[in-house]
Subunit: 145 residues, 2 copies
């Protein structure tokens, strides 16, 4: 992973912070094409009363809207937390080229399925800024107690 | 399954037909609570340029909107085709009580994962009006050739 990857993950972290500020579980995502952010998203499940309003779903829909195209070929999705099964399914549908995520999600992450959700040619990298990504979540849930 | 189940699947089939009429892959869904339809949805991926715009996702979001609540407790989702991984993940998040689907999807259905996507207490029934559900899809793809 590169400095540029770190830069984009920091932008995803800024989205997660925006979720935190709205009292949402702090997860953020950005979609990048040709070294430019074309879409951003953060978790909005509480505000929208909608379990589908995860950061990745919002970012994917926004990216498709920005491109006017269903498929996000050549795009990289940066997300602060390991995607859940729903989001992993959406990522697979989107034909995103590369997924970079920060913290693991040992309770709801797609890797729990232990099944091939993504196309084999899709690249997946994890652990980028994972401490910062996880810290936001830990802080959020500690405040809730 | 009951006559009422058949009635609601026919409503899901009407949604699938609406998708067909819009030149979308014909899949339809309805969400039922206390014997009443509270939300409907049909595949709109082409029109919206959005891979997340599956019938189930639209119906779940609409049902949450109708209830003003994130969780669809006590609800049944009727859908003409076996949900994909993304939709299965969304169904699991929604805490829907019961899923009834028509045709199997041997290419993209969540059962391909052979992994537990749903909470154990969720009821899943399949095969209701499966021939009608599948016929729409077969007709659609035959016309495309």
């Amino acid at each position: 992973m590169t400095n540029q990857d770190e830069h984009f993950m920091k932008m995803a972290l800024a989205e997660a912070q925006a979720a935190m500020d709205e009292d949402e579980v702090p997860v953020g995502a950005v979609v990048v094409l040709n070294d430019k952010i074309i879409a951003r998203g953060h978790n909005m499940t509480e505000m929208l009363h909608d379990v589908t309003a995860h950061a990745e779903m919002i970012a994917i829909t926004a990216a498709s809207s920005a491109l006017g195209a269903k498929y996000l070929k050549g795009c990289t999705l940066y997300v602060t937390l390991e995607p859940c099964v729903m989001c992993a399914g959406a990522i697979a549908h989107s034909q995103i080229e590369r997924l970079v995520y920060g913290a693991d999600d040992p309770k709801k992450g797609y890797t729990l399925l232990n099944a091939p959700v993504f196309p084999t040619k899709m690249k997946v990298e994890k652990g980028l800024l994972q401490e910062e990504c996880a810290r936001l979540l830990v802080n959020f849930f500690q405040e809730k107690r």
